[in-house]
Structure formats: C-alpha cells, structure tokens
Symmetry: C2
Subunit: 245 residues, 2 copies
C-alpha cells in the first residue's frame, strides 16, 4: 500500500441538543472523510447523525453499519466482526473515519463493541475516543439537580432490567440514575419506593430533544404511555451539600 | 429597579483539554459579563479559569468566590450564603453571569452548593446549567476502555474515603470509578483486589492535562508519589460486549 492507514475516531455527540457537542467532536468531524453510524435502533441512528450533521463536510461519506438487536450471541459477534472489517477496510484505504454515538462514546454505547473488535483484529489501527455529554448529565442540568456531591456515590444503571439492580444493593447508593426507563417505569418506581428514594426522584422525558419534559413527580409517569426516552434520577435524601461537602 | 435580573449559568468546562468544552459553554461564555470561579482549591480555581479563558470576552469581569475547605458546617454555610449574596447582587444589577466548574457542573462540583443557596434565597433568579465532560469519561476515552456496557452498572465514587465505599457493596458494581484517588490509592487497590477487580483496573494521572499518563497496571501507582489528579476505573471482569450487549 502506498498510503497510511487512517485513524478511527469514536465520537460521543451528546443527548440531542447540537450545542452539547464538544469543540473536539466538531474539529474531528470537519476532518474525516467517512462517518459511520450505528443502525441498531432507528431512533439512535438517525438522531446521532442529525445532531452531528451540521459539522459533517458535504463531501464526507455517511456509512450506516447494521448492528442487530438480537439476543443471539453468535449472530451478534458475527455482525460486530463484519462491521469491524468494513471499518478497517476503509481505514486501510487511507481515510480517517468517525463513528458516531449518542451521548458519551463509552457509556452504554455501540462504540465499545466496535472498539474491542478493532483492537483485537486490527491492532495496527490508531483509535481516538472523544467523550460526549451523557443524557443523565444533561437531565440533571435540565432539572438543576445535583447528580452527586461531596462524599456521595452515584450508581448509573440501564433501565432495561427494571428496579432489580437497585433492589440487590444492600447499601443503597446516595444517587441513582436509570437510563431508558421506558416500559420499566413501574418496576423502577417500586424499587425506588422500597429504598425510600421515590420522593427524592425526578425524571426527564426526551432530554434535550424537541418536546423535552421535566417530571418533578416521577409517579405521574405511571399514568402515561411509556416513552422510550425516559430517564429517572433519584436520591437517598434531599441532601444538603453545606452539611456534607 | 429599571433593569431585569440577570441569568446565572453553571458551566462545566471539562477536565482540562480546552477542546472538551461544549459549543453551548462557549456560546454562554461569550455572552456573560461576569465569570465566577470557585477559590476552594488553588488547583481547581486556576485550572477551570485557564480552560475557559480563550472564550471569556476581554471586557468580562472575573470574580473569584472563596469556598472554605473547612469541616466546620456553620462556617461553610455562612460562606455559601455570602457567596450566593455576592452572585445575586451582581445578577440584580442586570448582568448575566457564569459560574465555572471543572468537569461536569453537577458532578462533585461546587456549583451544586451555590445552586441550592440561590434557589432557596433568590427564587426569582433564573438558572441554566450547562453540563460538561467529566474526568472519568475523558479517562475512559484516553484509555479506550468502555465505562459501562449492555446491562452493566457503573458506580462513581469520590476517592476521598479510600476503598470502603466499594467494600460495603455486597453486590459489586460491574464497573467502578474512583475520582481523585490521590493519597488513597493503597486503600483503593486493596478494596479492588478483595473484589477481584484489580486485574481489570486502569488509571489515569492528570487526565487531559499536560503530562497525562495512562496507567495500565494500577498497582504501579503504589510505588509512586501520590498525585492529586489520579483516577482509577475498574471492572468486575474483562467484559466482552458481544456476549452481554
């Protein structure tokens, strides 16, 4: 080959508001010739691309990679390997490329899977990861609600398994985040109630997206249609930082 | 009064790299006439200001607020109240103002304390919080190491109490972050070892600052001078996302 292998960038584009991109993400996007997006979920895919779009040069190629939503481990591994091969192939042509993820690039993100495949199979590829604002940080900001202070702890959970991950904690965390609470709001509210955290909880629906809603009383979510973009932040107590910090 | 009350912005400026500011933080900084910084720790103070400096207009006033490092609750509360009064006074003159914090504005940040005082004492003041990249996200990015994947959990702890906050967890989190491990590296390594997490741990010293170091074997930190800016990320196992995602 008469050209250098391109560099792979993992870019966290934040939760929705295009102004929550970092300067670094913008600089990288302006330089790469290929932009990969994950097509695992229609929501995630189109949104990450939409957020980044204003910073992607007109002549850059946008390349969706299919990430199957299956529970079949073999099928999944095959898909990751195939996607890594596609990415490596383009890098080997000398192109720098960016892979877009919603929120942070290494927090519940598809980029982690791609990264592992690339590191294992194509160790000669240079990878640079650019962090992004997570939906739970943006939600705390929208609520003007501290996430974690002083000597407190913060537990971040996917909402996909409902309240059980909180239930199994004998020492409850001082603060807990359930991302994508979605259909599991009832189970999560139950677990928060058992832990005495429900009255110190707040929610955000569609954080930093059009139609964002701040939910000061999380139990009202029980009476609504489940929304995919539902995030819950709860506290052990209405901590008073002046006493604990 | 013949002018409107100004707006207060809480700005997370990220962990050090000026390019990790968000576009939103930059836009806000370019608009405000007063920039508050926390002078609780010389390190924090000068660094947050240094990161933001290129985006602060020449004619903006930089105003350090003293936050005492005391354990005396009464002295601390008095200081928060006094600082809130200073901020409110400037806002009442019609100025918009930003308060700078390292990392994220609501993650182990002094802004949380100011926010509470302002909300309690000056409910007429509008506050907008702008999230920032945390040191643990930037560290995971520098290490190219996923923070949390699939159905895993992430526990974020201050390092100030050593390893005990991890020890008290009967169900160990899948992933744990100790921020500012500093002098508590030995205690934290001990707790990680007990939890079987030490061999899946990595560290970053001075993340995204000049002299940043990636520490692939955290136990080497035990043989070094403690560094204030030491962060440790550890995993229950070398999780394989293709199996868990």
């Amino acid at each position: 080959m008469n050209h250098q292998i391109g560099k792979l960038y993992g870019i966290g584009v934040g939760p929705g508001d295009p102004d929550l991109l970092t300067l670094k993400a913008v600089k990288v996007l302006q330089q790469v010739s290929v932009v990969f997006t994950a097509a695992s979920s229609k929501n995630d895919y189109s949104l990450a691309l939409e957020i980044a779009r204003p910073h992607i040069p007109k002549d850059a190629r946008v390349h969706p990679l299919a990430f199957p939503m299956t529970q079949d481990v073999a099928a999944k591994q095959e898909a990751w390997a195939a996607n890594a091969a596609i990415v490596a192939d383009i890098l080997k042509q000398g192109h720098d490329a960016a892979f877009l993820t919603l929120g942070d690039s290494l927090t519940f993100s598809t980029f982690g899977y791609l990264l592992r495949q690339i590191k294992d199979r194509y160790p000669q590829v240079a990878v640079e990861t650019v962090p992004g604002i997570t939906s739970y940080q943006a939600s705390a900001a929208a609520l003007n609600m501290p996430l974690v202070e002083g000597e407190e702890s913060l537990l971040v959970l996917s909402g996909a398994q409902g309240g059980d991950r909180l239930r199994e904690q004998h020492h409850k965390p001082d603060n807990v985040v359930f991302m994508k609470a979605y259909r599991n709001v009832p189970s999560i509210c139950e677990a928060l109630d058992e832990a005495g955290m429900l009255s110190h909880a707040a929610g955000v629906v569609s954080c930093s997206l059009p139609g964002e809603e701040l939910i000061r009383d999380v139990s009202t979510l029980l009476r609504r249609e489940p929304n995919y973009w539902t995030l819950i932040i709860a506290k052990k107590s209405n901590s008073n930082g002046t006493q604990e910090g």
